[in-house]
């Protein structure tokens, strides 16, 4: 548990930031996995009550809202009116500010890029009291520093988004099994030209000829139709923290076997957007299944020229270890360059996994994986990170020094201090 010297709520957007004897950091909904949203021994400013809509033009799909608004609130408002977020991450429970600060990405990166590509403007509030409206063509340096800027350039007060039109709240979906990584690459190349949403679940401990087997999931927004399946929101809670991690090499092997071999619906089906995009939001506090020692996420991106070999090598090392998780996700990014100086999404392939925290063995595995990522010229994702060493950060984000010029002197985060030490 990280202790902060002071935790304050920011309710109103027109006030200056509080005076503080130590550095501050804005905190949205805390869905980042590690310490990008923490500022140990410093001040944390929570924006959960700065959550007002400011304006919505339902004819053009332009929405302006305060940075504390959750993506869920946006979706609840705009979907019935025929609009959708052009980019959404795997959970609805992130704030608009958090989505911009991490330049989040989704299953449609190959078509729509990342979140920052759809921000028309934002207002940045500095610790000096100075306010700037930033856009790709206005105060553009500050825009590029703030998108993906991990909250370090100041507080994002409000932002204007360009939404995307949709005809329903449902998705047309299809799933295909593949028996190996080679099959994945073939399927992927074909699918990306025809489907806007593509992602693969990988059995991360299958080895040998079955290495990299998994299920490929395709989706597109469903057109209007006369009959939709019934759907109701339901949330189950993981009630208590498990005394030990329920995720271990035995349960993982068993789960992966069952999950891979489960019968898949033939052809295409209709799925409501909530279970399609946000499967984990359905079980709140899912992290409790890992027990008190918790878990680590490991998400990396490898450049296109090293993707095939690099992903194989990563899976090989994970397979040997026997560690790994239910949630192993593989996706190729599109060629569109991200807008943030520190943005994670870049051309290539991203692999995301959870590992139960077994202490030193887990850290040792990560160092091995780091070496593969480093060698390939890839990078790790700050939003998911709790342990990347400074040299990994600098290697993955060569423009980090250029970025530091934009860090507000009154702001800092545990993550930033860790990776720039």
């Amino acid at each position: 548990m990280v202790k902060h010297r002071r935790v304050d709520d920011v309710d109103v957007r027109y006030e200056a930031l509080p005076e503080a004897e130590n550095t501050m950091l804005v905190f949205g909904n805390g869905r980042s996995y590690g310490d990008v949203c923490l500022n140990a021994d410093g001040t944390l400013l929570r924006t959960r009550r700065m959550n007002h809509f400011i304006d919505f033009d339902r004819a053009t799909g332009r929405l302006v809202c305060e940075s504390g608004v959750l993506l869920k609130d946006i979706l609840d408002l705009v979907i019935p009116q025929g609009w959708f977020l052009p980019v959404t991450p795997g959970t609805r429970y992130v704030t608009l500010g958090g989505a911009i600060a991490n330049d989040v990405h989704g299953k449609n990166h190959h078509v729509r890029g990342s979140f920052g590509h759809h921000v028309l403007r934002l207002e940045l509030l500095r610790s000096t009291g100075e306010r700037m409206v930033c856009a790709p063509a206005e105060q553009s340096e500050w825009f590029h520093a703030t998108v993906g800027g991990l909250g370090l350039t100041g507080m994002i007060v409000w932002a204007e988004l360009q939404l995307m039109p949709v005809s329903s709240a449902f998705m047309v979906t299809e799933s295909k099994k593949f028996g190996s990584l080679d099959d994945f690459w073939a399927l992927n190349a074909d699918a990306e030209s025809r489907w806007p949403y593509t992602v693969a679940w990988i059995d991360c401990i299958a080895s040998g000829k079955s290495q990299g087997r998994g299920i490929f999931m395709l989706g597109r927004h469903a057109p209007a139709q006369s009959q939709f399946p019934a759907w109701r929101e339901s949330t189950k809670h993981f009630p208590i923290e498990s005394p030990v991690s329920l995720v271990n090499s035995l349960s993982l092997r068993a789960f992966n076997f069952m999950y891979y071999h489960r019968p898949l619906p033939k052809g295409t089906g209709l799925s409501h957007y909530v279970p399609y995009f946000y499967p984990l939001d359905g079980v709140r506090e899912w992290n409790r299944m890992y027990g008190r020692k918790g878990f680590f996420q490991y998400q990396c991106v490898l450049p296109p020229e090293f993707s095939r070999d690099g992903i194989s090598e990563l899976l090989r090392r994970i397979g040997i270890n026997g560690q790994g998780s239910f949630l192993a996700v593989l996706k190729t990014f599109g060629a569109k360059p991200s807008l943030g100086i520190l943005s994670f999404p870049r051309p290539g392939t991203t692999l995301a996994l959870d590992f139960p925290n077994l202490g030193e063995p887990t850290h040792r595995l990560f160092r091995e994986l780091d070496a593969v990522v480093r060698e390939a010229g890839g990078a790790l994702y700050p939003a998911k990170d709790a342990r990347m060493p400074p040299d990994m950060f600098r290697a993955g984000y060569p423009l980090w020094e250029k970025f530091s010029a934009y860090v507000d002197p009154g702001f800092s985060s545990s993550f930033w201090r860790r990776v720039t030490s």
Binding site: D9, D11, V12, R13, Y14, R49, H52, F53, I54, D55, F56, E66, L77
Partner: protein
């Protein structure tokens, strides 16, 4: 179920009231918002307008409710803007600084103005309005603190106690006119009012949960309502602790 399609909310910019306003708007209601801080009020009105659909009126004005002479005009403006009124929610208040009040009689009396007398004034005017019509809902946010005076917050508690008893009598009077009088008694709620408290225990509720309870209580025309419900039992115990024992405690 009472139809509350036209509501005036006093203290609309408070966190619980904002949540109530949003839920009412989602149910198709038109709302008149009265709040002290005009910038906060404008932000709330803009938010409600984005959420509202065709034909829903969202309006309001800034006012300090300790200016008692304004109360009648505020109700009249609300009625005029919305084309009538189905419900009044009194949601303004401040958490009194107990220690500071102990040292100052004038501060204590000011707290009674804010937390009791201004509410009583508004409710008196609204009651007459609704009694003549023979329908409507009068609601106000009191507190579990009003159930028993205790050393840590009896200035606030006494004000809320006054409000609770006043509304109890009003409920008796207005039952014959078909007007519901709803007294909301929240327990611990996570809002800026309680910012200095340690909120780690299980007793803390979100403003949204309280707001849902308020909307339900108003639509069902309930009487005194503890929110969340388990506070009914907690306060039953608190109320029946014998004085000799209670007075030795530091609740």
């Amino acid at each position: 179920m009472i139809s509350i399609q036209r509501t005036v909310i006093f203290g609309a910019t408070s966190t619980i009231a904002q949540a109530v306003a949003r839920q009412l708007v989602a149910r198709g209601a038109s709302i008149y918002c009265v709040g002290r801080n005009s910038a906060k009020l404008e932000a709330l009105l803009a938010d409600l307008r984005v959420r509202a659909g065709e034909g829903q009126l969202i309006a309001g004005e800034a006012a300090d409710l300790n200016e008692f002479t304004r109360h009648a005009d505020l109700l009249a403006s609300a009625e005029k803007s919305l084309g009538g009124l189905d419900a009044v929610l009194v949601a303004h208040g401040s958490l009194s600084d107990q220690k500071a009040c102990e040292a100052s009689a004038s501060m204590t009396l000011k707290e009674f103005d804010t937390n009791a007398l201004s509410a009583v004034s508004i409710l008196t005017l609204a009651a007459n309005l609704f009694e003549t019509r023979g329908s409507g809902v009068l609601a106000a946010i009191s507190s579990v603190a009003g159930d028993r005076g205790r050393q840590s917050n009896y200035v606030y508690g006494a004000a809320k106690g006054m409000l609770t008893i006043f509304m109890q009598g009003m409920r008796n009077r207005l039952a014959k006119a078909g007007v519901a009088v709803v007294t909301i008694k929240p327990g611990f709620v996570d809002t800026p009012m309680t910012a200095s408290f340690d909120k780690s225990g299980p007793l803390w509720a979100s403003p949204e949960i309280i707001a849902r309870g308020i909307v339900m209580a108003m639509e069902k025309g309930k009487g005194e309502v503890y929110l969340p419900g388990f506070w009914w039992f907690i306060m039953l115990v608190i109320r029946y602790i014998p004085s000799r024992i209670f007075n030795r405690m530091n609740l």
